[in-house]
Symmetry: C2
Subunit: 198 residues, 2 copies
């Protein structure tokens, strides 16, 4: 094959991103090669300086350039609610919604013992500590509805169920704009069971 | 917003890739931040060394680490056919098919006067020169079926129509595995007009 090792390696690295298949990685690699070289060199530099600048916030564990992160250090946030998410990326999605003004805590992983993610990997001790310190009125479990998400929700609920805090989780059901026809049976079942009066 | 300039810039750069939307770029950026830093640093280095190593081949204009490229310098290729493609990435797709053993020529762009891509931008002079030098029996126009592709096919046909060379283009029709229901009317029309006996 005429593909060089360098190019193979670039394609392989790009295809390690979630949601990027081999074909997309190939297109990305060739795009990098075919553009003005400055685009690729600047991208390489941006990747380097960005990852070197970001560290977990010591309060919420979100990856941030400053410690505490801008959210934890803001005086405008409502300290009565703590939203628990899997990753820093989830915080960006929730912030984009422009609805929630409370604080966050990043687990880093969902509970999945067979993959080696136990209580230590989901930062359970740091979470307990943060909750004891903040004493929020509500813990919002914004975790994905999956086997791992459910296990994590149950695990966190066990920790805090006897504490004086309201524990909520996001609603499950049909995604907005989603066709019934393309819904998984789990999604449909959940929407069915949780149907409400109009 | 809590998103830093560095991260914004990384997301913006990643979303410049074809087929990568804002959301995918966000996920990629956060993935870079959340992985072991070595992954990101190695990726940055691979991007840099790869784009610096690749230059257009002086014969076919494919981006390659060597000049002439491995295909032009191979003694195993059939010099009787020259396949004309838009980009180096297209060559990889055709090579993966493992069917064609001839040579290539990369236009770099399709003809699109309103976007500023005229005969000079599609390397028409270099193509004429390459054809005069090689004297292939067949020119295979492997260009995409679109307004720009059709214009380019017509333009190249005009250049070589009186020369002693057979000019072919790829068949148009339904993609393999494609549902009629999801085909565009242009695709269906072309499949209909070019229907053949079973």
């Amino acid at each position: 094959m005429f593909i060089s090792n360098k190019l193979e390696k670039l394609i392989e690295s790009l295809s390690r991103f979630p949601g990027i298949g081999k074909r997309t990685a190939q297109r990305m690699a060739w795009y990098l090669l075919s553009q003005d070289q400055n685009f690729a060199l600047e991208l390489a530099e941006t990747i380097k300086t960005t990852v070197q600048a970001f560290k977990p916030c010591s309060k919420c564990l979100m990856l941030s350039e400053s410690d505490p992160c801008p959210i934890c250090s803001s005086l405008m946030r409502d300290t009565d609610s703590l939203c628990i998410v899997e990753s820093s990326a989830d915080i960006q999605v929730i912030e984009n919604m422009n609805e929630y003004k409370g604080l966050y805590f990043v687990l880093g992983h969902l509970l999945s013992p067979i993959d080696g993610y136990g209580p230590d990997q989901i930062n359970a001790a740091a979470l307990s500590q943060r909750v004891a310190q903040l004493m929020p009125k509500e813990l919002i479990l914004a975790l994905k509805p999956s086997a791992e998400g459910e296990a994590t929700i149950h695990y966190i609920w066990e920790i805090f169920k006897d504490k004086d805090v309201c524990i909520t989780r996001l609603s499950t059901g049909l995604p907005f704009g989603g066709d019934l026809e393309y819904s998984s049976s789990n999604t449909l079942k959940s929407a069915w069971e949780r149907r409400y009066g109009v």
